[in-house]
Amino acid sequence: MSSRGPLQSAPAIEKPATAEELARRLHAAAAAKLSVTPAGGGRARGMGDPLERCDLVLETTRLDRVIEHQQSDMVVSVEAGIALEALQSHLGRAGQFLPLDPFNSPGHTIGGLLASGWTGPLRLRYGSPRDFLIGIRVALPDGKLASAGGRVVKNVSGYDLMKLHYGALGSLGVIVAASFKVFPRPLHDVTVSDAGGWDAADRAASMPLSPSALELFSDGRVLARYFGSRDAVDRAVSELGWKKTDSAVWDEHARRGHEKWARIAVPRTLLRDVVSSLPDGSEWWASPGAGIAHWAIATDAQSVTAMRAKVEAAGGTLVMLAAPDDFMREVGSWGTAPATIDIMRRIKTAFDPDGTLNPGRFVV
């Protein structure tokens, strides 16, 4: 964090042990006109434009408890600083899991994943946390702790502020706790692979049993993961005729992360065209069913800008996930501002009137 941006001096780092303490520290910093950067596991720290200022880093890593796991209700409430792996191992003891397998793992915290909006291959089957986040608690710059949602799997009581904080990169408040709907571990879990590129991926996607994850790589390799009942999975796999592969391949895949990389998100029917217009020889991997691709950038800033123009013309976004500061300044993290940026700015002002949180990093 401190190495990014034109900082005058190294920021102070604090690790509050409770949500209340974090809210107090945030409020005190805001009152003293200091800028604050929330941080979790640091796995997505490269995201966003270089900070204009960073006086205080508020780390959530000591907020690492499982607050409540009602096994039979399939609901878990956690503090934001818990590592994804720790939560998965807790849920695993009950035969459950959170269907979240983000890239650049391990070491993501739950709060960091919610703030950054990073996801992985299982998104194809389960959606993103946007779909299974059922409650949230956020510390605001005025020192208040505001909750929304709850601990039930279906809830329309009040505004869905989970959506507002999800993917907001900590620009409205610091996420201190969250509740999720969790899922039973699949009855049967089989991974198969092929080398047939886009056509093979399209074929897998059109079969009666949809894969739970389907990943395509720039070298033409395709990975498909099937969850479901034994007979259904066995039939799908045999019809597809691909080679069975150890599911450890997914852990390896989730470790992918690059010094300079970007996420491309377009309507899924346009992904193939968009990805095929990447510079020759580019390394990338894609989730065709979700409309998302990741690009390990080995070319110059101009090539990224040119690529972004194509992506935006297709109605999508190219977001930089990490790059050296000067590269990031040249291309910009986010691309063209959304058409509703005026409303977003007003929301930012309503929650963070002094611009305490992550100044300059997010789009608002």
Partner: protein
Amino acid sequence: MPLAPHVAQELRRVVGRDAMIDAPNDLRIFERDGSIEGAVPDAVVLASSTEEVAGVMQVAAKHRIPVVPRGAGTGLSGGAVTIRGGIALQVTRMRHILEIDPVAQTALVEPGVVNQELSLAAAQHGLFYAPDPSSQKACTIGGNAAENSGGPHCLYYGVTTNHVLGMEVVLADGSVRWVSGDAPDRVGLDLCGVIVGSEGTLCAITKIKVRLLRIPPSITTLLAAFPTIETASQAVSAVIGHGIVPSAMEMMDRVTVGAVEAHYHAGYPTDAGAVLLVEVDGTAESTRELTAAISRILAENQGYAMREAKTAAERDLLWAGRKGAIGALGRIKPNYYLHDGVVPRSRLPQVLSAVGEIGEHYKLPVANVFHAGDGNLHPNILFDMRDKGVLHQVESAGEEMLRAVVELGGALSGEHGIGLEKSAFMPWIFTEDDLDAMHRVKDVFDADGILNPGKIFPDPSRKPLHLAGRTGLAIEAKWW
């Protein structure tokens, strides 16, 4: 209070003379939605286009007149009731399915499109729209988006917000904007996600882009009887505990089953304490295997009289009983008050026994029909409006039931919305700071408070809290 003549004239200029209703007798038709409390609007406009909605909003903003967007009026929490007067903005003339893209599996619809009509149209492409509220033959997609509606199949498929990709909305100042769209992971704040379920308090919705799903090749519906609600609830938990999430798990109690059977002759066992409907879908192999596993689990948990719908007609009949349950209850009493609360699934037996006790205390019959898999209960308090003083009793009973829901760690609404009906209870589950955060969003969108005023947020001046002395309990019990 009628609109000032010059305001009425401005509205007529926007929508046309025929699309404006302000004769007192005609307005009474728009007094209510599907809930108990009503209020007559000062005017109704029947908008036919986004431009007309924008024009109406501009007039309303100029004169600071409340605007309440309204679809089919099937809502159950008073969301479409013009409690502060003003304009009922009726969108049912905007009922075109503008596009179905079978390749992208999306549809673009106007807000007045009826839920079931979209699924029927999509079926030509082998697709369906997943959220299926029980009112789906009448309710509109616009209303569904405003309320974030659920339905029996949201156990597996999720609620409306999981299926809305983007929307065209008209803001309080009359400007027309798009929020979100076809691509995932958009840059910036997720305004679309906040607007879905905001009950018409942030903007009016004029177009909706939704995700469609492939119709599964195989669907199996199982019915099982249980001696008691407790045993049926236990069976529901056992199925999910085995790692199976069916597409729907619906329960009906003895009162409901009796009424439904008398009306539909669906073959529900009337001696049962509870009847459970379980549906699984997927490939033929998958439904066969899951059906066998589920049957075994239900039998192990005292399930009996099990039936499997083997044809589409049998399946429709089993569902007709469930989806038409509320109407069938008219055999018992002419009026009903349908409540909506959610508890953690394991608390269902406790909350239902509390509901039963409350009904007995107030000497009001209660019929339960609900989404057991989600822990979403729908107690129906049955009454006869002609009985003197009964409405107050009904409201008190409903309030106590909600109180029981909250005390068991639940939420005020799973799918009907807060609206008018439950706004006074919001402090039971949210602190002042929680509500303040929500209000900041409201103020950004609608600083003058003209959009569906009097909804969601508590208005202490309007409704006395019968149980006011007990508020705050739930807040203390909360894990945070």
